[in-house]
């Protein structure tokens, strides 16, 4: 048995943000599918009074609350990445894939069915990981923008057009109207689902390959390395 040492990997801020983002995305995905095409809790004729079901309004409320949480989580993650004293990791978090040497060695490992133990890695995130996180952040921003456009649609009034809609008008026209904004919002949801599936797999693969407690580190903050 070799000795292990504790390595502090994730700060409290990162861990909190990770789980807040996860919960927000999970809630947003379910409520989002509900809003797109309501499937549960719909009123079946003759079963009850209308005031007993307020499902669409309630689920929309939950969706919007989680959306605000998600927006601030993403803003905070960007803030941490660029301005934090200890977590300023934007170079590694989003742009490590510029490092071609590491990229090749990582891909070599992944494509030869060994998704762990990559040699010569100097950063917290490997290049493939950082590419995925860059995509995640970009898609999150796009998802937030399309969401805000849809959310503020009813702010346009006979008196004037809402400021948010005015700001995003170039985006609305470049997408070709509100219907396309909505379809984009819907299809980007699938990115999060796919990201989730791949993320879980990579965590399990790394954990079982390196045996360093990396999946537990997102709770405790500590990873274990051989001495």
């Amino acid at each position: 048995m070799s000795e292990y040492k504790k390595v502090y990997e994730w700060t409290v801020a990162i861990r909190l943000l990770h789980w807040i983002t996860f919960i927000a995305i999970a809630v947003l995905t379910f409520t989002g599918f509900y809003i797109a095409s309501p499937f549960w809790f719909v009123h079946i004729p003759g079963t009850k009074e209308a005031y007993n079901t307020f499902s669409m309004a309630n689920i929309r409320l939950i969706h919007f609350i989680s959306a605000y949480i998600f927006i601030f989580a993403i803003i905070l993650r960007f803030y941490l990445a660029f301005f934090s004293r200890v977590d300023a990791d934007w170079k590694e978090f989003m742009f490590r894939w510029f490092n071609i040497k590491e990229m090749i060695s990582t891909l070599k490992n992944y494509l030869t069915f060994k998704p762990y133990g990559i040699k010569g890695l100097k950063s917290k995130y490997n290049p493939v990981q950082s590419l995925a996180y860059l995509a995640f952040m970009l898609v999150s921003v796009l998802q937030i923008l399309t969401g805000i456009i849809l959310y503020t649609m009813n702010d346009n009034s006979i008196r004037s057009v809402s400021i948010v809609q005015k700001i995003f008008f170039p985006m609305i026209t470049s997408f070709g109207g509100y219907a396309n904004i909505r379809i984009t919002h819907h299809i980007l949801t699938w990115f999060f689902i796919i990201f989730f599936i791949a993320h879980i797999y990579m965590v399990i693969a790394h954990e079982s390959g390196e045996k360093n407690g990396s999946s537990a580190s997102m709770f405790s903050g500590y990873k274990y390395e051989k001495k």
Binding site: A36, S37, P38, F41, V42, H43, P45, G46, A50, Y51, T53, F54, S55, M56, A57, Y110, T112, F113, K114, P115, M153, N154, N156, S157, I158, R159, S160, V161, Q165, K166, F169, I172, G176, G177, Y178, A179, N180, R182, I183, H186, I187, T189, W190, I193, I194, I197, A198, Y201, A205, G209
Partner: protein, 394 residues
């Protein structure tokens, strides 16, 4: 002519408007108008009821009712040239061919319609001459109304008008250039309409996109007569265009979303949806969201003013909104009787193959899961074989 979006009604003092109306109204034309009203079976009371309705629709204070009434009776002073481009004349039809002519259509007859292909008695060379004379005579004074999209491909050759075979593109360019105000009535002239739907073989575009002039869009397929006459009356009254939204639609008509003023909105919030045509929910007048209603994406005032003299409107009649006052609605809002998340997305390079966003997502997620499965199996096999190799080497 400034078409800037200013929402300041404050500067439009009532005295100014009265002065303007004194200049352009005459007692004779008013008398003549009321005679015409009576002969068509409308009392003065009917007319005043209609004026207060249109004043409210235009979001003007009640003090404007009498002024709107005067503006409606204006004759001759504001010539209108109505151009028909690539269109179905539906806008004109819906406007004029009601079972009993409404006050709106009467007023429209009364405002001097100098040129209107459908309504003119004359034809052929005389019409062409008439148009030229009108443009010359009223240069810089007339209102140009365009109905229909402008085919722009191959220099607009897909639409030619008149004995000289003038293309619609050059005609619209020529006549809108000398107009005081340009109005685009109907979705075709505003955004291109059905002619501009994919694959758009004639390169049809809305007037603004085709020739780049500033224009007031009054979209709809067709737009309600309230919106058309209201926009005209606003210009007659104030001598300036109404405040516009970003798609150049008058805010008083297109400022609010159908969904927000819909009579079935409460059923949406309560989760009461029509699941199929003619079911129990449909009989109870529940929300048509799951039947493909595009009200949440559409700005118009149909829920408040309705069609055909306020008789009814599509959602009231039990069919969802198809979003006809939004740009490119033939492409964007289709399929009309399916929810928006069932809309087909063209796969790039797929030769017109369409898939819904959920289908694309499911396939992508499935591919990911399969790749993970293969990768996991590969990793397990590799780990086992490398272990046995180690053992053997030991």
């Amino acid at each position: 002519m400034s078409l800037k979006n200013d929402n300041s009604f404050n500067e439009l003092s009532i005295e100014k408007i009265d002065k303007r109306l004194d200049e352009i109204c005459s007692k004779d034309s008013e008398k003549e108008f009321y005679k015409k009203l009576e002969s068509s079976g409308f009392s003065r009371r009917d007319f005043l009821k209609w004026t207060s309705f249109i004043t409210a629709a235009l979001m003007l204070p009640p003090a404007f009712e009498s002024r709107v009434a005067r503006a409606a009776a204006i004759k001759e002073r504001v010539p209108i040239i109505w151009l028909h481009m690539a269109e179905c004349t539906g806008c004109t039809e819906s406007f004029l061919r009601t079972q009993e002519p409404s006050i709106a259509s009467l007023i429209f007859d009364h405002v001097s319609l100098t040129y209107h292909d459908t309504l003119m008695m004359a034809s052929g060379k005389r019409v062409e001459e008439h148009l030229e004379n009108a443009v010359k005579k009223y240069e810089g004074k007339y209102i140009c109304v365009v109905e229909g999209a402008i085919p722009t491909k191959d220099n607009g050759i897909y639409l030619t008008i008149g004995s000289k075979g003038e293309t619609g593109l050059s005609r619209v360019k020529r006549i809108t250039a000398k107009a005081k105000y340009n109005l685009a009535f109907g979705t075709c002239s505003a955004f291109g309409g059905v002619q501009a739907a994919r694959p758009n073989p004639t390169g049809a575009k809305g007037v603004h996109d085709a020739i780049g002039i500033e224009i007031v869009n009054v979209p709809g397929c067709p737009p309600s007569s309230t919106n058309m006459v209201g926009t005209l009356l606003h210009i007659l009254l104030f001598d300036k265009i109404p405040p516009l939204d970003m798609f150049r639609r008058p805010l008083w008509a297109y400022g609010s979303r159908i969904h927000d003023y819909c009579e079935r909105r409460a059923h949406f919030d309560a989760g009461e949806f029509v699941e199929e045509w003619g079911d129990e929910g449909a009989k109870k007048g529940w929300c048509l969201y799951k039947m493909g209603c595009k009200g949440p994406l559409t700005y118009n005032n149909c829920p408040r003013y309705r069609f055909n003299q306020g008789t009814n409107w599509p959602i009231g009649a039990g069919h969802g909104c198809i979003g006809c006052s939004e740009s490119d609605f033939w492409d964007n809002m289709a399929p009309f009787e399916e929810p928006n998340d069932k809309a087909g997305i063209r796969i790039p390079g797929g030769k017109g193959v369409e898939a819904t966003s959920d289908e694309i997502g499911t396939v992508a997620a499935g591919v990911t899961a399969a790749a993970i499965g293969i990768h996991a199996a590969g990793s397990v096999i590799r780990a086992k074989s490398s272990k046995t190799n180690e053992k053997e080497s030991k």
